[in-house]
Amino acid sequence: DKLANFEAIVASGERIEAGEWMPQQYRAECLRLIQMHANSELMGALPEREWIPRAPTLRRKMALVAKVQDEVGHAQLLYRVAEDLGKPRPQMIEELLAGRSKFHNVFHYPVPTWADVAVIQVFVDGAAMQTQGALRSSSYAPYARVLKRICYEEDFHIRLGIDVHRTLAEGTGPQRAMLQDAINRWWQPIMHFFGPRDQASPHLQTMMRWRIKVKTNDELRQQFLRQFVPLITDYGLQVPDPQLRWNEAEQRYDYSEPDWEEFKRVIRGEGPKSAARLALRNEYWQRHQWVREALDAWGMAA
């Protein structure tokens, strides 16, 4: 029967295509995951975009516009994938604007200095790369295809960020201090990014079996720490977690347990910038109402 056939396809490592039969739970989980990913790309454009008008050189300005443009482009690609799972794009955007669907914790925080842009591009995008890289083996074919391009472009973002990070780390005293301050402010949200340690649960097992989730939260966090902690310590900068150290015996990083209450609050939309950013998006959405009406009328006539 259909479920057995579906399980067989997934178990064999094959992928499921849009328009193909799938269990309702698989469709719902994929939609929730990909919609949140799309929302996060669209909202993820806002923090760095504040620095486009203030980028300090012509080349940094062009590169930052290109980088934020990629985030908007990723939202376009991801909403397109989520759409075929049963929710039109306008409805997903309206759910985001109404605060009814989530976006990643890291985009609920302020971006007070130019160094924040470097920290976001290196460490936030670096964290996202772990999750997105793993999901390239996702069982949902349209998602896996889109992630191939997204990961290629995210890799560019990380390299761009490393260049700014290195320039500040090797720059003047005030530049180094600005960078350390940004790292201090962003470390907790970045540790939150991967979510709490997975409790073994039937839900988790199904997600892993169906390859909607490919690695556990803590595997991804450890993968991130191994790659990115050196980028701080190699420049003589501090990781703002006194407990953080490499545990040779267990081949993993030990770290202070993040404050998961703050994480839950932020995800619910009570982060320092949650309301302000959603309000800003809503304001533009209202201002463009006349443009949407005009395009609808033009589309009808075409």
Partner: protein, 250 residues
């Protein structure tokens, strides 16, 4: 050929492209639809890239580093047309300005590309090729918004009426331009303006918009450093990080 007159002229072109590119980049993340957001971001990048190329020609003449030219001058030393420094307003005004500005830039580039000064002529013809897409994007949006509904047409006419006088200001001659000699800019500003008016009139009328009464003069001043407060606000923000330490590496 007067080197400082040439530098002054190229700075005016570069300032136009930088400031209009800066304004376009302010839409990144907030355009009415996601696909147009991506497209306008590319246009913004290219305008800023064009500015950088013109600043490099200025740098060949004056020895100043392009970033210093772009980030190190007070408003009074900027030579962009006032038209470019105005805030974006709504999407309709932004699309009308993009359309009118790019058509004016096209006439300027046509003139420079026909000039005898090889480096400037080559740069102009390179940049002109990239501006083709900008013209397409602007015209597509202009045509749809102007022809879709009575409400959208009225808004676009309003935006056109507001933009028109300052669009004429793009053709205000740069101080010292006449000393450049015909070799560099073989088409006089008044002739560029006439050709511009003819080409935009054809499009505007075809989409049902009325050509405002021409009364140049309002949009001038920028070419000699007389700017609106909009430019001061823009530059305060744009140069804030660079000014915090102009000698540092950013």
């Amino acid at each position: 050929m007067n080197q400082s007159a040439l530098a002054a002229y190229l700075i005016a072109v570069a300032d136009d492209e930088l400031i209009i590119g800066h304004r376009h980049s302010e839409w990144t993340g907030f355009a009415p639809d996601i696909e147009s957001d991506v497209a306008l971001s590319s246009i913004a990048q290219e305008e800023i890239g064009h500015a950088r190329l013109f600043y490099e020609r200025v740098s060949d003449l004056t020895g100043n580093d392009p970033d210093h030219i772009a980030f190190g001058r007070p408003p009074a030393e900027f030579r962009n047309a006032v038209f470019a420094e105005r805030p974006n307003g709504d999407w309709g005004y932004s699309m009308v300005r993009l359309f009118l500005y790019d058509r004016a830039d096209q006439e300027r580039l046509n003139a420079l590309a026909a000039g005898e000064l090889r480096p400037v002529a080559d740069l102009a013809s390179t940049v002109r090729r990239e501006e083709r897409y900008h013209l397409m994007f602007g015209e597509q949006w202009l045509r749809r918004l102007a022809s879709a509904t009575e409400a959208s047409r009225a808004r676009m006419q309003q935006a056109l009426d507001r933009a028109w006088p300052e669009a004429l200001g793009v053709f205000e001659p740069v101080a010292g331009q006449e000393e450049l000699g015909a070799g560099v800019v073989p088409v006089a500003p008044s002739e560029q303006l006439a050709r511009w008016r003819q080409s935009v009139a054809a499009v505007l009328e075809s989409v049902g918009l009325r050509l405002p009464a021409a009364n140049g003069g309002e949009g001038t001043g920028g070419r000699s450093g007389r700017h609106s407060d909009d430019l001061r606000v823009l530059l305060d923000e744009m140069t804030s990080v660079w000014r915090s330490d102009p000698q540092a590496k950013w």
